[in-house]
């Protein structure tokens, strides 16, 4: 089997799974339908993981570059399947298959849901390995349409509004992405990354440099909408809070990261062989690094002030993606490996948090962090898995958040980003402490509405299986972080292992304890009467529809102005 | 010639956005689709002309009329 065919089979298998689900929808008798559904799930989600294992030796040696259906390089669609796309596909398939298993008991069980879910997974892997601008546009559109429809599956009024505003902002962004593709094709005459890089070297005139710079700004800002960085993250909290739990786990875990690394493949390829455009890239990436770091802090402040559990977690996703962007924007191979590691670990512990909090709030019947108590009665598995997720996200040593956050803060050693990122992690500890209140036993004098009298024990095999899998994965990846760091480094082509060897030194443990003390102190401040007033005022301020578009125009204007001022 | 038709598209879209009655704005929108299909034909792009005519004028008008039938016809 040639490696090209294996790669395309691995990309197209989720589609076969989706077709199986459509066939299952047509079937009349029950058990035949269930068999076809199980077959669809296995073919669509688990078989590609096996193929990825087969592909590892080939990818480890060198990246596989080919044109789909070996068409002519000038017109055909290029695909680069290198270490990065292997890593992204692994991240995508693991969190998608576990979230799908979770939805077998708790989530929507209709065949259309699973078919759209598999189409979304197809779009993830296709985006991860595409090396053609217009093909990237089509993959972003499939990703978008599948996630709008899946967000609306939860049936709540809020979900429709969230899906609508997400759709409006990203289809405007995609129209501007098309303008970027137009600008680049008009100057270089080619759509594939290699073709663009080759023709760009002949760019001399001032006008062409400005033209290319502006189209790159359009493409970067359009992708920034899907990655939810500072100015344009407004759509994410509402969409992730109102989507079904399995979908918010995949949305936060994978869907906001793959576009970032796909954009990285395009930018870093161009930066490596073109000097004239290099100045523009440096500035664009600096701005992205700045806004990524700022996102980490601003989103944690918003997260601290939320009273709804899932919205608190959604703001955390925005802050964690801020971490990933601040590492990714350094653009050195070791930085990209560290960014991927944090993205993968975030997919694991954020998926765990969304799934556990989701089923606990469903069992409690209310979403408000201030009113739920005694959630530990819902069962051992949700409680333990929540605490593992909370400790991972707040970088507690044995769990995986500790290793990846150490890797990122090691990158930023000594610069102001280091200070802001550590402030953000203190905020993370405080908000996780606040979220864990729902598990505390009720004290007699508190008159908060609780569900002590009829604690609904959470049952369902697949639900528990997915929670346990994520918890064990968080623990294992935390313990074996240096090995995973080496794997990521070798695949991305960086000699240095992003995870520094001596992880559990004395001062790092001391730093963690200091972090936790500051976190608890911040938590006490937030729940003080003065703190409550501030948080209520922050929480009441919701991003309005026009505000989303205004932020988008602001971001585009800022970056475009930067390029125009330079020339 | 094309400039004139483009002005027509611009005016039609402006009317579609700012008119009080949604039914008239749907008609204005499908008219702009037909005119842009004509522009594509003039620009030697017959494939895109057929697609724009069939999808833009045909399908999106049907969907917009359906949504108006099931919601409200007049703007606030």
């Amino acid at each position: 089997m040639k490696s090209e065919t294996l790669i395309l089979v691995q990309i197209l298998l989720p589609l076969v799974g989706a077709v199986l689900f459509f066939i299952a929808k047509l079937m009349k008798n029950q058990n035949l339908r269930r068999i076809v559904e199980v077959a669809g799930g296995i073919v669509g989600l688990f078989l590609p993981l096996v193929i990825l294992m087969l592909l590892y030796p080939m990818v480890n040696k060198s990246s596989i570059r080919f044109f789909v259906g070996n068409q002519n390089p000038l017109i055909g669609i290029a695909l680069h399947f290198d270490g990065m796309s292997w890593l992204l596909s692994i991240m995508g398939f693991i969190s998608a298959s576990i979230a799908w298993l979770y939805s077998r008991t708790a989530g929507p069980k209709s065949q259309e849901f699973s078919a759209l879910f598999l189409i979304q997974t197809f779009a993830l892997t296709a985006t991860a390995s595409s090396a053609d601008l217009f093909n990237l546009f089509v993959c972003f559109e499939i990703l978008g349409i599948a996630s709008y429809a899946l967000t609306a599956f939860s049936g709540k009024g809020r979900a429709y509004m969230a899906a609508f505003s997400y759709m409006a902002v990203s289809s405007t962004a995609m129209a501007i992405f098309l303008l970027g593709v137009f600008g680049i094709y008009r100057i270089t005459g080619s759509l594939s990354y290699d073709g663009i890089a080759r023709y760009i070297t002949e760019v001399y005139s001032e006008g062409q440099i400005v033209g290319i710079g502006l189209s790159l700004v359009c493409i970067v800002v359009a992708t920034a909408v899907r990655v939810a960085i500072l100015p344009v993250y407004g759509w994410l909290p509402e969409a992730h809070a109102s989507a079904p739990h399995a979908i918010s786990a995949v949305l936060s875990g994978v869907l906001i990261k793959v576009p970032l690394f796909a954009l990285g493949r395009f930018l870093f390829l161009l930066m490596s062989n073109v000097s004239a455009i290099d100045i523009i890239f440096k500035e664009v990436l600096d701005v992205l690094k700045f806004s990524g770091t700022l996102t980490a802090l601003v989103a944690v402040i918003f997260a601290l002030s939320q009273k709804e559990a899932k919205r608190l977690l959604a703001y955390h996703s925005v802050s964690q993606i801020g971490y990933v962007v601040s590492a990714w924007a350094i653009a050195s191979p070791v930085a990209i490996a560290a960014a991927w590691m944090h993205a993968f670990y975030h997919a694991l512990f954020k998926g765990l948090l969304f799934l556990s909090i989701g089923c606990v709030t469903d069992a409690a019947g209310s979403k408000d962090v201030y009113t739920i108590r005694n959630a530990y009665k819902t069962g051992v598995v949700p409680t333990v898995s929540f605490f593992i997720g909370a400790l991972s996200i707040s970088a507690f040593p044995p769990f995986n958040g500790f290793a990846s956050k150490a890797a990122i803060s090691y990158l930023h050693k000594g610069s102001w980003e280091y200070v802001i990122l550590s402030l953000a992690s203190i905020g993370t500890v405080a908000s996780m402490f606040k979220l864990s209140r729902i598990f505390w036993p009720i004290k007699s004098k508190e008159k908060i509405e609780t569900f002590t009298d009829n604690p609904i024990r959470i049952t369902g095999f697949w639900l528990k299986f997915s929670l346990l899998f994520f918890s064990i994965a968080c623990l294992m990846t935390g313990l074996f972080a240096p090995q995973i760091g080496a794997l990521a480094g070798s695949l991305v082509g960086s000699q240095q292992n992003p995870v520094s060897g001596k992880l559990y030194t004395f001062n790092s443990l001391q730093g963690t304890i200091l972090l936790f003390v500051q976190g608890i102190a911040l938590y006490l401040m937030v729940t003080s009467p003065l703190g409550k007033r501030i948080t209520h005022s922050i929480e009441a301020r919701r991003p309005s529809f026009a505000g989303l578009l205004f932020a988008f125009a602001l971001g585009l204007g800022m970056l475009g102005g930067l390029v125009l001022l330079r020339h | 010639m094309i400039t004139f038709l483009l002005m027509f598209v611009l005016i039609g879209s402006a009317y579609a956005l700012f008119s009080r009655d949604l039914l008239y704005s749907t008609i204005a929108l499908s008219m702009t689709s037909v005119v842009s299909a004509l522009i594509f034909y003039i620009l030697h792009a017959p494939d895109v002309a057929i697609t724009e005519a069939a999808v833009g004028a045909g399908l999106s008008t049907v969907i917009f009329i359906w949504i108006i039938k099931h919601t409200r016809r007049s703007d606030p």
């Binding site: 070996n70 217009f134 033209g211 502006l214 204007g557 102005g561 | 409200r72």
Partner: protein, 236 residues
Amino acid sequence: MIYVMGIVSILLLSLVLGPMIISDFVWPHIARDFLLHNGLTDTGASNLVSAIYLGYRAYDTVGETIVLLAAVTGAVHLIKGFPASVHGSEGLPQKPKRRTNIISMTTGKLAPVVMLFGWYVMFFGHLSPGGGFQGGVVLASGLLFIALGREHHQRESKLDRSGLHIIEVSSLFLILLLVSLPLVFGASILENPFSTTDETIPRVIYMIGFNMAIGLKVGSGLTLLGLLMMDMKHDD
């Protein structure tokens, strides 16, 4: 307040998009010259747009069919999941119940012509302008024409939904089959299978097959959406 934000964002956008759109560049003709010479020989289609659309960049077309599939599935699920009878639709005044037979007579005559045109556009997509999508959309409007003309109760008998569902799923399966067909001939995925064998079988058959599969898929998907929108009854 919103108007101020609107004006400011328009100015910002024109600041960035203006110089990009308005600046004058010579349009590259490398691709056009290449296609001019070996577009016909490579894919066998004289319509160069179809040559790109189904030959060189067929992977985009597969992605696009999936976009349409996801949109139609999502829209059908959203519309069907909610019984419309709860809210009287005061959008348009209700049409008088007595239906004149003018409508059914004209649609009866007109529908076959539209359907024929749809099939023609689909089958001759590689020679004359047209192709899978355009043919599918015209076919769907032809089918909806027939449904419009019918009386309410007659509509269910002729155009029952399960028939269309089966067409949609089988055409989707046909597309996946066509995508992997070249493997049988030893070529890679999405490569024209008849390019490796000797010239007896013209290459254009692969493209006609693709056109037909996409046309059927688009046609049945959009007809389902149209039927659902028209009479809001959910039977299956």
